[in-house]
């Protein structure tokens, strides 16, 4: 007996996964296991996302050197993806930017940029696994050559085998700081300063919750202890920082909790303060957002298994809420199972329960981590007027305050309209949250009322030439 196939007029459901980091990869593997062949679109040339980013050809090094403790995980994710590719279980589109999503009846239209050429793709269902970027906060000198984010300092090592300097100062408010200190130590560069803007006491208070993930906690403790043992103890509760230099970084001045100020010579600074979800595509797809107080950022609404507020759009990994690579792996699988479930494909109830339990445990850990590294409000409280807030447009805090005082913007989008904050190439990724903080502080509204910058297509710059028919190249 042969089973009847689908009627000729029934189109196969097209599932598109955006992002090939840990969430995207496990989502793809889960779909493939259930007979669905997803299209996986990723901006990078190779899968892995930022966390398991692979060096370009010519810059390869052994995984142990690149990923340290996480080499096995990185290798597993890369291997999983490679297997899916070689078995033709996925349709992989690397080096492809999805720059817009629009809803069209029950389907979605994706605008793509690949190889400098425009393309479109229709999708029935989308899993957004778009990852995160460093949360940057402005401080004097932050636009100087030689100042990078912590993520940048790590990518430089992992992907390029270069350090951001010989005398490097690392500044953070999150678990990336001790990790990066160790990664720089491992390549023979001893940071001249490792500064944490979170108070140590907050970490102690959060210890109970952090114990929900003993392995991760131990890893963090190990990094911190090892850094100290190698003469690079992390200074907690740093109150202010200032990059020194004229045309490039030559030093760092900072103030500690005891009121003392310090000045050191350095030729590279990496500073960022946690992560922010890359959620522009969720916004364009029409997903609703909510403000998460603990991480002090807007996140796309989703249910426990990753369904967004828009039917057919699922969100997983750091693009939904900052949780790290392990959470992303679980959440990618969970979102894929939810998608299959919604489409009537039977999935393992047991597996879904297992994922749910694991993610709940992770979520307790995450909450603890957020209280261990609270948002460093003190860094944005006293931003001097002359400081550039919007890197792209060169808009200063003084200009923003002037705009707030004279033009009375009621939310950050109005502030953008009046001041050009966030109107540059990065669409406010680096400054939108700071604009909201300034607005809340000076207009006396809450941070929720200050709102978030709405995404506008294209979410990243696209060349005019991509629309010129004669431009088609390989």
């Amino acid at each position: 007996m042969t089973l009847p196939g689908p009627p000729a007029n029934v189109r196969r459901t097209r599932v598109v996964i955006i992002g090939a980091g840990p969430a995207g990869v496990t989502a793809a593997a889960t779909l493939a296991r259930h007979g669905v062949t997803p299209i996986v679109i990723d901006e990078a040339a190779k899968p892995g996302g930022q966390i398991y980013r692979q060096p370009p050809d010519g810059a390869a090094r052994p995984p142990r050197e690149i990923y340290g403790f996480d080499a096995a995980k990185a290798t597993r994710i890369h291997g999983l993806f490679k297997d899916l590719q070689s078995a033709a279980k996925i349709d992989y589109r690397s080096q492809t930017l999805v720059w817009n999503i629009t809803r069209n009846e029950q389907r979605f239209r994706l605008d793509l940029l690949h190889n400098g050429v425009q393309a479109t793709l229709d999708a029935d269902k989308i899993i957004l696994a778009t990852g995160a970027v460093d949360r940057a906060l402005p401080f004097p000198g932050w636009v100087l050559p030689g100042v990078f984010t912590l993520g940048a300092a790590q990518i430089a090592l992992k992907s390029q085998g270069v350090a951001i300097g010989r005398r490097v100062a690392l500044i953070g408010a999150g678990p990336l700081l001790p990790l990066l200190v160790n990664q720089y130590l491992a390549v023979g560069i001893k940071p001249v300063a490792a500064l944490d803007v979170a108070p140590f006491i907050a970490k102690l208070r959060a210890f109970g919750g952090l114990a929900a993930q003993p392995a991760t906690l131990l890893k963090g403790a190990y990094y911190t202890a090892r850094a100290a043992a190698l003469g690079c103890a992390i200074t907690s509760n740093v109150r202010s920082i200032r990059a020194l230099g004229d045309s490039r970084v030559t030093g760092l001045a900072y103030a500690t909790a005891d009121g003392k100020t310090h000045e050191i010579a350095c030729d590279g600074i990496a500073a960022s303060f946690g992560l922010r979800s890359e959620s522009q595509l969720a916004d364009l797809a029409g997903c609703r957002f909510e403000f998460d107080n603990a991480s002090r950022q807007w996140q796309p609404l989703r249910d426990r298994v990753g369904r967004s507020s828009v039917s057919g759009v699922y969100i997983a990994g750091d693009g939904a809420a900052i949780g790290g690579a392990d959470v992303a792996e679980l959440a990618g699988e969970q979102a894929a199972l939810a998608l299959l479930d919604d489409g009537g494909t039977p999935t393992s109830v047991e597996r879904r329960h297992t994922l749910d339990r694991a993610l709940r445990r992770q979520s307790r850990f995450r909450r603890a981590l957020e209280s261990a590294y609270p948002f460093p409000a003190h860094l944005v409280a006293n931003i001097p007027d002359g400081l550039i807030i919007c890197r792209c447009e060169g808009i200063t805090a003084g200009q923003l305050r002037d705009s707030i005082a004279r033009r009375h913007p009621t939310d950050v989008n109005r502030l953008k309209a009046f001041s050009r904050l966030g109107m540059g190439r990065c669409q406010g990724r680096m400054c939108g949250h700071v604009g909201a903080e300034l607005l809340a502080a000076h207009a006396g509204c809450g941070i929720v009322e200050a709102g978030r910058l709405r995404a506008q297509p294209p979410i990243k710059p696209i060349p005019l030439t991509s629309a010129l028919a004669t431009e088609v190249s390989s």
């Binding site: 901006e43 990078a44 930022q50 060096p55 370009p56 050809d57 010519g58 810059a59 390869a60 400098g116 970027v133 460093d134 940057a136 636009v143 100087l144 050559p145 030689g146 100042v147 990078f148 984010t149 993520g151 940048a152 990518i155 430089a156 090592l157 992907s159 390029q160 085998g161 270069v162 350090a163 951001i164 300097g165 010989r166 390549v187 023979g188 560069i189 045309s247 490039r248 030729d267 590279g268 890359e278 890197r391 792209c392 447009e393 060169g394 540059g424 190439r425 990065c426 990724r429 680096m430 990243k460 710059p461 060349p463 030439t465």
Partner: protein, 108 residues
């Protein structure tokens, strides 16, 4: 040290980035604002630039310079122009033989 190199050092500053171990991949010859420079296969344009000088581009609103920031294609602070016209994001595009990179901006 050639005279040209010395002059580059004075005019454009020493490298911002440091290789943690020598690269064995093939050499790539390219130019920065007309000056010859070298990098290796596998280097991004940003790496190639910042191993030769201390900036990626002139900032268009003021006399300062920028040298990238996020290195993951998010902050858009490292777009440079190729002499042939196209714009490229230095942190995500790889350096290629004979590339002619312009880091010089102009007063708007």
């Amino acid at each position: 040290m050639t005279a040209q190199f010395k002059q580059n050092q004075q005019t454009h500053g020493a490298a911002l980035l440091v290789r943690i171990k020598p690269r064995t991949s093939a050499l790539v010859r390219f130019t920065i604002d007309g000056r010859p420079a070298t990098a290796h296969i596998g280097d991004t344009i940003l790496t190639a630039l910042l191993l030769n000088q201390a900036h990626v581009r002139d900032f268009e609103f003021g006399g300062s310079q920028r040298a990238g920031f996020c290195l993951m294609g998010a902050c858009q602070d490292c777009w440079v122009r190729l002499r042939s016209g196209p714009r490229v994001r230095a942190c995500t595009a790889l350096i290629e033989e004979t590339m002619a990179i312009c880091t010089e901006g102009r007063a708007v």
